[in-house]
C-alpha cells in the first residue's frame, strides 16, 4: 500500500526535531540562529518552512544533517531522522544518513556545484557515496535523475561543467543530486528560486510525485507563498530563530493566528495593489546576538502590550494541529487576519 494513502495521523514521523538550538559565536557575541525549534515531518508529507530572511531557516535545514559549519554549533536539542538520533551519530554512520535518508537541495545553485567536475560526475559521486559501483547503473540512474528534473538532453549534460549552465539548469542539477539516492526525507532550501515558473512547475510536480508515490517526506523552505500553497500539507513560520506558528496550510492562509504570519501574508503582491503599493510590516527583526527577552516580534507587532516585552511566549497548540507563539492569542480571538495592523490604513 502506498504510504501516502494512509491518513496523516497514522503515518510515521520521518523527522522529529525537538528544541533545536544552533548558535554561532561571533565577535558580537553568540548568535542563536536557531533557538528552540521543534517540528516533525511525516512520511509523504510536505512541511513548508517560511519566514523572515535570516530567521534561521537555512541553519535549521543544515542542522538536520549536521552540516552547520564551524564555528556554528548545535548546542542542544534532539534530531530524530527515520528513527536514528542524528546528534548521536558518529562519522561513518552520519555520512550514510546524508544523502540516502535525507537529501538536501541548497539555496544557491551558482555555487553549490563543484566547478571542477562535470555535472555527471558529481551526480554519480552522490550515488557512489552510497555504494553504487556499476558504471552502467550509474550512468542510467544519473540520466534518469536529470530527465526527472526536466533537464533537456540529459545524456549530453553529463559531460557539461556547471559554469556552462544557466542558473536554472544548475538548480535542476542540484535538485537531482538531492533526490538521486531516493532519500526518505528531502530538505529543499529554496529549490526553485532560480527557476522560471514553467520549470518551477515541473520541479514542483516532480517533488510532489516523489512525496505521493514514494512517500518521501519533504521539508520545503521557500519565500514563495504560491509554492507553499501548492506543495505543503503543513506550514511552520519562523521568526528570529523561533517557530512562531505552525498550522495546516489552508488554516494558515485563511486564519493565521500570529501577527507576523498575518503581516507576511498581506505582503504578497496582488494585482489590486497597484505599483509600489504593497502593504508591508514596519521594522526589522531583532539582532540575534542579543534577542529581546520578551516576544521577539514585539517591537514590530501592532498588538503589542507591556507583557509582550517581558514575557517570552511559548508555542502552544491553540487548535488541533495549529500552534502559535503569541501571548495574546486567546484574547485576539480566532484570527488576526482581518484586524487592522498598526501603520497600515
Amino acid at each position: 500500500m502506498n504510504p501516502a494513502d494512509a491518513g496523516p495521523e497514522t503515518r510515521a514521523n520521518v523527522l522529529t526535531v525537538t528544541d533545536l538550538q544552533t548558535a554561532f559565536p561571533t565577535r558580537r557575541g553568540t548568535v542563536r540562529a536557531v533557538d528552540g525549534v521543534s517540528f516533525d515531518v511525516r512520511e509523504g508529507e510536505t512541511l513548508g518552512l517560511v519566514g523572515e530572511s535570516g530567521s534561521g531557516k537555512s541553519v535549521t535545514a543544515m542542522s538536520i544533517l549536521r552540516l552547520v559549519a564551524a564555528p556554528g554549533r548545535i548546542e542542544s536539542g534532539r534530531i530524530e531522522l527515520a528513527g536514528q538520533d542524528v546528534l548521536a551519530l558518529e562519522g561513518e554512520e552520519l555520512r550514510r544518513v546524508r544523502g540516502s535518508i535525507a537529501g538536501m537541495v541548497f539555496q544557491n545553485p551558482m555555487t553549490a556545484l563543484n566547478p571542477s567536475f562535470t555535472v555527471g560526475w558529481q551526480l554519480m559521486e552522490a550515488l557512489r557515496a552510497h555504494g553504487v559501483r556499476d558504471p552502467e547503473e550509474l550512468q542510467r540512474r544519473v540520466e534518469q535523475a536529470l530527465a526527472a528534473v526536466g533537464m533537456p538532453d540529459p545524456a549530453r549534460q553529463l559531460d557539461t561543467y556547471p559554469h556552462q549552465m544557466s542558473g536554472g539548469m544548475r538548480q535542476r542539477v542540484v535538485i537531482a543530486m538531492g533526490m538521486i539516492n531516493e532519500p526518505r526525507l528531502l530538505i529543499a532550501d529554496e529549490p526553485t528560486t532560480a527557476l522560471d515558473v514553467t520549470i518551477q512547475a515541473q520541479v514542483l510536480n516532480l517533488m510532489k510525485r516523489l512525496t505521493r508515490e514514494h512517500g518521501t517526506a519533504l521539508l520545503l523552505i521557500t519565500h514563495n507563498m504560491g509554492v507553499i500553497a501548492r506543495m505543503c500539507d503543513r506550514v511552520a513560520v519562523m521568526y528570529a530563530g523561533e517557530i512562531v506558528e505552525e498550522a495546516l496550510v489552508r488554516t494558515l492562509f485563511s486564519a493565521p493566528k500570529h501577527p507576523y504570519t498575518s503581516g507576511l501574508l498581506r505582503s504578497i503582491p496582488r494585482a489590486d495593489h497597484g505599483r509600489g503599493k504593497v502593504p508591508t510590516m514596519t521594522g526589522f527583526p531583532p539582532d540575534m546576538a542579543a534577542p529581546p527577552s520578551g516576544c521577539r516580534f514585539a517591537d514590530r507587532c501592532p498588538y503589542v502590550v507591556d507583557a509582550c516585552l517581558s514575557d517570552r511566549p511559548a508555542l502552544v497548540e491553540v487548535e488541533s494541529a495549529h500552534k502559535t507563539r503569541c501571548l495574546r492569542v486567546q484574547e485576539l480571538g480566532g484570527s488576526v487576519a482581518d484586524l487592522t495592523v498598526r501603520g497600515v490604513a
Binding site: P152, H223, C232
Partner: protein, 336 residues
C-alpha cells in the same frame, strides 16, 4: 523596435539588435552558443521594464550587455542615443550611469571587504563627501541596520546580502539599475518592502529599472512594461497592464498559467499543468519559431518561417504567427 518612440524622442536606454554568441568547446568541433540573438528594446527615463523568460534564455547576458560588462557580438546599446562602447571618456561616462544588482549576491561581494565598503564603492569613486552617512542611510533604506556596514558578507544571510547589493546599486543615483533577480532570495515581506522602495525611489529620483525576474507577480508589481524572452529572443513586449490582461504569445500564456497563486484552495486542487517538452539548446536552436517545439499550437508554418516581432495592438508587440491563439483565460480555466 522602439515602441515608445513617439513619447520620448531619445529613450534613456536603447538596445538594438543585440547579439551575444559564446564559443563553447566540448567534444567535437567548437560551437556557438547563441545566448542572445537579436534583442531590441528601450527603457525610458523613470520607467521600469520587466524582463521575464525561461531560465537560460539569456536574461542575465542581456543584463551584462546592457551595463557594459560584456561586449556584444553585434548590435548596440545606446544611452541617451550614445553608444556605451564609444571610445574614451564618453563611453565610460555612459556606462557609469547604469548599475546592476547581480543574480548571485554572495558572489558579487568581495569576501574580504566589509559590506559598508562594498556599498560605499560607487561614491568613493566619485569622491563624494559624507560617504559613511550616505552608506548608513542607504543601508537603512533597504532595511539593513547601519551597523551592518561593518559586517563581512559571509556574516549575513542571503537576503541581507541581496539588500546590500541593492543599496550599492542605488547609492550613486544611477539613471538605470538592472535588477537581475534582485528580490528572488528575499522573503515576501521584504520583497514587498524593497519593491515599494524601488517604486518610491523611482518616483522621487526618476531612476529607470530593467527588472529581470521569474516572479510574474513581482514583475507586475513594479513594471510599466514587460518584455518576454525565449531562447535568446524577445517574443513579446507589452505594457504591464496590457500584459496582465492579455498575454498574446503562447509562451507568455504558459508563464502566466504556471505562476502559482498564494492560495492553497486553488493550488492544491490544480491539475498538473505547465509546458511539456524539453527546453531546446541555445547551441542548436529550432528552426523558425524557437518556441514551436513546446508550443501546443505549433504548425508547419512555425517550423518554416520565423515569426517577426510585430505590433499586435498599440504598444503591444508579439512574435507569433498565431498571436492570441492561447489566452490567459483559457489558461486559468485549465488551471481550475
Amino acid at each position: 523596435m522602439t515602441p515608445d518612440r513617439g513619447a520620448t524622442p531619445t529613450p534613456l536606454l536603447q538596445v538594438n539588435d543585440l547579439v551575444k554568441h559564446f564559443p563553447v568547446r566540448g567534444r567535437g568541433p567548437a560551437q556557438m552558443l547563441r545566448a542572445v540573438d537579436g534583442v531590441s528594446f528601450t527603457v525610458n527615463a523613470g520607467e521600469t521594464v520587466g524582463v521575464v523568460g525561461e531560465s537560460g534564455c539569456g536574461k542575465s547576458t542581456v543584463a551584462r550587455l546592457v551595463v557594459g560588462l560584456t561586449k556584444p557580438t553585434s548590435g548596440s546599446v545606446l544611452v541617451e542615443g550614445g553608444d556605451i562602447w564609444a571610445r574614451g571618456k564618453e563611453g565610460a561616462e555612459r556606462r557609469r550611469r547604469m548599475q546592476m544588482v547581480f543574480q548571485n549576491p554572495t558572489g558579487s561581494m568581495n569576501p574580504r571587504r566589509t559590506v559598508g565598503d562594498a556599498v560605499a564603492e560607487p561614491l568613493q569613486v566619485l569622491r563624494a563627501p559624507g560617504i559613511r552617512a550616505k552608506v548608513e542611510e542607504t543601508l537603512s533604506l533597504v532595511g539593513l541596520k547601519p551597523e551592518m556596514a561593518d559586517r563581512m558578507p559571509h556574516e549575513m544571510s542571503g537576503g541581507q546580502q541581496q539588500r546590500a547589493a541593492i543599496a550599492r546599486a542605488m547609492i550613486s543615483n544611477p539613471a538605470l539599475v538592472v535588477h537581475d533577480e534582485s528580490v528572488a532570495s528575499l522573503d515576501i515581506s521584504l520583497q514587498a518592502q524593497i519593491l515599494n522602495l524601488l517604486v518610491d525611489l523611482q518616483d522621487r529620483l526618476g531612476t529607470a529599472y530593467l527588472f529581470i525576474s521569474h516572479d510574474l507577480a513581482a514583475v507586475q508589481a513594479i513594471s510599466h512594461r514587460v518584455v518576454v524572452m525565449y531562447l535568446g529572443e524577445v517574443v513579446e513586449s507589452a505594457t504591464a497592464v496590457e500584459f496582465a490582461a492579455r498575454p498574446l504569445h503562447p509562451y507568455s500564456v504558459a508563464l502566466r498559467r504556471a505562476a502559482l497563486l498564494p492560495d492553497p484552495e486553488i493550488e492544491q486542487s490544480r491539475v498538473e499543468v505547465g509546458l511539456t517538452g524539453d527546453v531546446p539548446s541555445p547551441l542548436n536552436p529550432p528552426s523558425g519559431c524557437r518556441f514551436r517545439t513546446r508550443c501546443p499550437y505549433a504548425e508547419q508554418k512555425c517550423a518554416d518561417e520565423k515569426p517577426a516581432l510585430r505590433p499586435a495592438q498599440d504598444g503591444h508587440y508579439v512574435a507569433c504567427h498565431f498571436a492570441g491563439i492561447a489566452t490567459a483565460t483559457t489558461a486559468l480555466e485549465g488551471a481550475s
